[in-house]
């Protein structure tokens, strides 16, 4: 049998999936603790022993591929010029590369900004600014300031190509490894985030995996290919596009509500689907990831309550406000807590629905009516996700939740709020066996097996 081993070094667990490459089935799973703080090998060995226990004996794996969100994930800071233009493009590139974005800066960096960046201690900085042939001063100034600050983390340079060499020289002289790639916005209004994404991925493989100590277990795997969120995004891309004779699921959205954040990935053009609507603002990347840093089931439970309203949450869960508040405090204080008893389960469910609803509202585009002399005109900002075919829920909260279908339904379009362009009637599926990361890791080397695995294990819940 030809098999592949897919590894996810998570922040709490090391998870394994063994896949039969002939038919795209899971032949076994294993789990161990995350031990990246001491020696990553321990957790992986425990997980392998667990897998071996299920299988009897470990097969000779053709591929052993890993992704990682351990040791804080891939912490990144982005710097661009205009907030809505190159700074936004840089942000999109970093998020699309699976980064945990800890800071996004625009215009000239101030002393305070530099101090913030030093404090954030990113794994990689993405430096952009200026279209090709456009503004060169600001990216040069920012490079000089970063160099003077003595920051030595790798810097990916994706700004005005006329300034790139000088920017690279400045940072290299200060001791930063630099990678020059194509501009994230080569022309005004043109997004070009793929080269920067690829460069970030390369730095992750070449340097970050070692810096985080994950390569200590290098004898047990072939390669750590990407951060876990990037693997999920790659999985989503393959599931949407299909491969060869196997049809994909079409334009789709993946949502993942976690303890600290809620992620939304869309694989769709998002062009206007309503007649007479004019698209406005930057073009949207086909592959888009947003991370809501204030929407998490535990660490940010209070922030969800603040955004959604505690009274509404209590009413949704059928609880008295005082009881809801009590549970909320318990969850925020104990981030490992699993819901205990009927009340807590209902509250957790309501919390997940609220987080997903808000996260989708922020990810999806919206319509605004502009009154002109010729009458009202609808202007669309962001992606129109109304017609997407598939909605997938992933992550532990949804996979182990009481009612994942209801939680996922909370992301759908509300007829009373037609200006919010959220999915209307997609097929709703659940990544119950947590394989989306494995699909993404296998996508390049074994696309057929990866796609079969993905389609088979995204269980329909409608």
């Amino acid at each position: 049998m030809s098999a592949a081993l897919l590894i996810d070094f998570g922040s709490t667990f090391t998870k394994l999936r063994a896949i039969d490459l002939a038919d795209g089935n899971i032949i076994g799973s294993g789990q161990g603790p995350s031990t990246v703080e001491t020696d990553v090998t321990e957790g992986l060995s425990t997980a392998l022993a667990d897998l071996e226990g299920h299988l009897g004996a470990l097969p000779n794996f053709k591929h052993r591929l890993a992704c990682s969100s351990a040791a804080g994930g891939l912490g990144m800071v982005t710097v661009g010029l205009v907030r809505e233009l190159t700074a936004e493009a840089a942000k999109q590139a970093a998020l699309g590369a699976g980064a945990k974005l800890t800071g996004a800066f625009s215009y000239g960096l101030t002393k305070g900004d530099i101090a913030d960046i030093e404090r954030l201690a990113p794994d990689i900085i993405l430096l952009a600014g200026g279209t090709d042939g456009g503004n060169a001063e600001v990216i040069l100034e920012n490079a000089a300031k970063l160099a003077a600050a003595g920051l030595t983390c790798p810097v990916v340079i994706a700004g005005n190509r006329e300034a790139a060499e000088e920017v690279a020289a400045l940072l290299e002289a200060a001791g930063s490894p630099v990678i020059v790639t194509e501009n994230v916005m080569p022309e005004f209004g043109v997004l070009n985030v793929e080269p920067a994404r690829a460069a970030i991925r390369q730095v992750f493989i070449d340097r970050i995996v070692h810096a985080k100590g994950i390569d200590k277990a290098a004898a047990l795997f072939d390669a750590v290919l990407m951060p876990t969120p990037a693997a999920v995004l790659e999985g989503a891309r393959l599931l949407s596009a299909g491969h060869g004779d196997i049809a994909g699921l079409g334009p789709l959205v993946v949502v993942d509500v976690g303890g600290a954040t809620t992620d939304v990935h869309s694989v769709a053009d998002g062009a206007p689907t309503k007649e007479g609507v004019i698209a406005h603002g930057l073009p949207e990347p086909h592959l888009k990831r947003t991370v809501e840093g204030d929407l998490g089931m535990r660490i940010n439970a209070a922030a969800i309550a603040e955004a959604a309203g505690l009274e509404q949450l209590a009413a949704g869960a059928g609880l008295a406000v005082a009881r809801a508040e009590e549970i909320l405090q318990m969850l925020s204080a104990d981030i490992e807590r699993l819901p205990d008893g009927e009340d807590e389960q209902r509250f957790d469910q309501t919390l997940a629905e609220a987080a997903l609803k808000i996260a989708m509202t922020r990810h999806a585009g919206s319509l605004a009516i502009v009154q002109t002399v010729a009458g009202p005109v609808s202007v669309q900002t962001g992606k129109d996700l109304g017609q997407i075919k598939t909605l997938i829920g992933t992550g532990g909260v949804l996979a182990h939740g009481k009612n994942p279908a209801a939680a996922l339904m909370a992301t759908l379009a509300d007829p009373l709020v037609p200006q919010s362009l959220k999915p209307q009637a997609p097929d709703i599926r659940l990544d119950k066996d947590y394989v989306l990361f494995a699909v993404g890791l296998l996508a390049e080397r074994e696309p057929e097996a990866a796609l079969t695995l993905g389609i088979r294990h995204m269980h329909s819940v409608t």
């Binding site: 010029l81 205009v82 809505e84 233009l85 190159t86 200026g130 279209t131 042939g133 456009g134 503004n135 060169a136 916005m185 022309e187 005004f188 209004g189 004019i278 406005h280 502009v370 009154q371 002109t372 002399v373 010729a374 005109v377 202007v379």
Partner: protein
């Protein structure tokens, strides 16, 4: 007019405000491009702040504002100040189109827009050639003085 290199000049074009009349602006943009300028087109329904943001990112040398629906005076109020605020102190500003409603003396209208900080104002049905000629003249003069 060969003293300036049009290829090294970037111009931002767009229709300001809640104005959907795109045709004249498109003809202008195509004409400017044909004449050799680098043109960044923002299209219809463009708020003043977006002209400025595009000009910063592209290090533009001039902004060409179109207004066809008679609200130009309102939309363009403070445009020069916005540019100065964003560090685009010396940027060339042109405006053209149907700038006011009803019959008004052009010299008065022009005076009003020049007073708002535009370097030139053009009446409706101005030919692209005339705009290009004015641009050449203005950029040549700047080169001499700057």
């Amino acid at each position: 007019m060969s003293s300036i290199n049009r290829e090294s000049i970037t111009l931002v074009t767009g229709v300001i405000g809640a104005d959907t009349h795109i045709v004249g602006n498109r003809i202008l943009s195509m004409g400017l491009e044909e004449a050799g300028f680098k043109v960044v087109t923002l299209g219809a329904l463009t708020p003043a702040a977006e002209f400025v943001k595009a000009a910063i990112e592209t290090a533009a040398d001039g902004i060409m504002v179109s207004s066809l629906y008679g609200q130009g005076e309102l939309d363009c109020r403070g445009f020069r100040d916005l540019c100065i605020e964003a560090g685009l102190d010396g940027i060339l500003l042109y405006i053209g189109g149907s700038l006011v409603v009803g019959k008004q003396e052009w010299s008065e209208v022009e005076g009003r827009f020049l007073g708002m900080g535009f370097d030139r104002a053009f009446a409706n049905a101005t030919r692209v050639e005339d705009v290009v000629e004015a641009l050449d003249k203005d950029f040549a003069a700047r080169k001499k003085s700057g």
